[in-house]
């Protein structure tokens, strides 16, 4: 089988981040934003909102203060790329934030770092101090601070993240208003994933063409993947978008891959028969980077149960469909497994999960049906027997 996967090195390449910033500060905000729009860059945290448009919306708002937030609350099971990016190229992340600040007109930036990554704090504080001195030399008004999370997955959702930064329970807000018009402390805010900020910096350096020519129509450029599970080569890989799952499994599988969970506990489970027809990207199955491979020795019941228990614990409890739905799905598959409920009960549970998709307030509850329905449909026997 031919393997067409192209490895890329935009994220981890060591570059002179200050030179890129200097060059960018010579250009107008609109020019840079247009480049980011033109490149086709979409948010790398999972949701995939076009980055350039987000910046444009935030720039167009009139306000006395605006904010840049770097979302480093990487909590999706199977994802660990943001930690690696922050560890290896922190300066590029900081410069990406400053670039965003320049473009939208914000003078304050925050990194929301999950508590599980607190060990990065001394290193990051040092990098920030150094960066601040460089900005001062340039007379460029922008400062960065770190807000620590405290172990809540839902705070990766941008509005919950801002609630947490404001000292409240991390419960997602209603949208609209969107953060670009009313975000942190009610001010226009651009919340971007760690990886997205670095890509934006690289696009400011290289221009939009190189990035745009990679990938597919809806999924331009490259992406950092976190590969784990039953694979001989677990780790972090930056790959050009647009590959099929078959190509991916040929590269990373152990020869016995029966399923791949694309996008973590809130993503989709793809079975072997569908590897060939499944594109990894916004046209097919999008992912924030999490790719978990499972071979035939694994019980899909255990995997589904693990994901559901995760969601049950991490549901903020604010809206009923998610709070009660998660609990009932966990109970429901256990009842079917034990024979307390007939196999047909799984269809009832799927109706419940479909309701959660429609009625939940935020992405957490809305995406529980992704793993649930895909695992039930692909591995029904394993759930029942």
């Amino acid at each position: 089988m031919e393997n067409k996967m192209k490895k890329v090195d935009l994220i981890f390449d060591q570059v002179d981040h200050l030179a890129i910033l200097d060059k960018s500060l010579q250009r107008t905000q609109d020019e840079i934003i247009l480049d980011v729009i033109e490149s086709g860059l979409r948010g790398r945290g999972g949701a995939g909102f076009p980055t350039g448009l987000k910046w444009k919306f935030a720039k167009n708002e009139e306000a006395d203060q605006k904010y840049v937030i770097c979302n480093a609350d990487e909590g999706e099971p199977g994802t660990f790329k943001d930690r690696e990016i922050l560890t290896q190229v922190p300066d590029k992340v900081l410069a990406g934030m400053a670039l965003c600040g320049y473009c939208i007109g914000a003078t304050e930036g925050y990194i929301y770092l999950r508590a599980e990554y607190n060990f990065l704090l001394p290193m990051l504080h040092k990098a920030i101090d150094k960066f601040h001195k460089e900005l001062k030399k340039r007379d460029f008004d922008f400062s960065i601070r770190i807000c620590s999370g405290s172990g809540a997955y839902v705070c990766g959702e941008e509005t919950a993240l801002m609630e947490s930064m404001e000292g409240k329970r991390g419960e997602p807000r209603n949208k609209p208003p969107f953060p670009t018009s009313s975000g942190y402390l009610g001010k226009p805010t651009s919340v971007n994933n760690v990886e997205t900020l670095v890509f934006a910096l690289m696009i400011a350096q290289e221009g939009p063409t190189q990035f745009k020519e990679m990938g597919t129509f809806d999924s331009r450029g490259s992406k950092v993947f976190s590969v784990s599970g039953d694979t001989p080569t677990p780790g972090i890989f930056e790959l050009e978008l647009g590959m099929t799952l078959e190509q991916f499994v040929n590269e990373f599988g152990d020869g016995d891959t029966k399923a791949v969970q694309v996008g973590g506990a809130s993503g989709f489970c793809v079975a072997r028969k569908d590897f060939k027809n499944t594109l990894i990207g916004f046209e097919g199955i999008p992912t924030g980077g999490s790719m978990m491979l499972f071979n035939s020795s694994r019980s899909m019941y255990n995997i589904l149960n693990d994901y559901l228990e995760f969601m049950e614990e991490e549901s903020c409890g604010q809206c009923t469909p998610c709070r009660v739905g998660c609990q009932q799905l966990v109970k429901g598959i256990e009842a079917v497994k034990k024979g307390v409920k007939p196999p047909a009960y799984l269809e009832e549970l799927q109706k419940l999960s479909d309701t959660m998709r429609i009625a939940s307030k935020c992405g957490l509850g809305q995406s529980v049906p992704n793993p649930f329905n895909s695992i039930i449909q692909n591995f029904r026997e394993e759930i029942i027997y």
């Binding site: 994802t79 599980e116 947490s164 930064m165 404001e166 000292g167 784990s228 677990p234």
Partner: protein, 155 residues
Amino acid sequence: MTRIEELVKEQADKHGRQRTSLMPILQAVVGSEHYLSEDALVAIARELDLSSADVFGTATFYTFLDTVPRGKYVIRVCKTITCHMKGKDEVIGALEDMLKVKLGGTTTDGKFSLLQANCLGWCHKGPVMLVNDEVYPEISAEKAVEIIGGYLKKG
């Protein structure tokens, strides 16, 4: 002024008394006291001029802001799927035997709490555990016992 009130005042002087100061203060108190006692929550509420229910509500939302007493060293073993597949149960079993404590419990000398946590972000290097803020990836049952042995000696 009690010791807790002094600690809270000191942290409020450092982080400020706005609502945005609440998380850093809660985190700092957990850092030094290992948990948020009722006295601490009330003291924080007073210092920041918030209702204690509001402060309690915020604190209990977050897994890492403990409101029950925890040990000096909080061990959190990742329980999410890839760490599960790589043997987190053996790690937990070995630590339970070593510390004579059940999962979720705290040793009688108040030194260690043994907990599970959701994905810690080391899926390629599981199993993994945190001891307070320190991270230990690619552990085994033996290695975990050795690491915690080091903390035992440290006192």
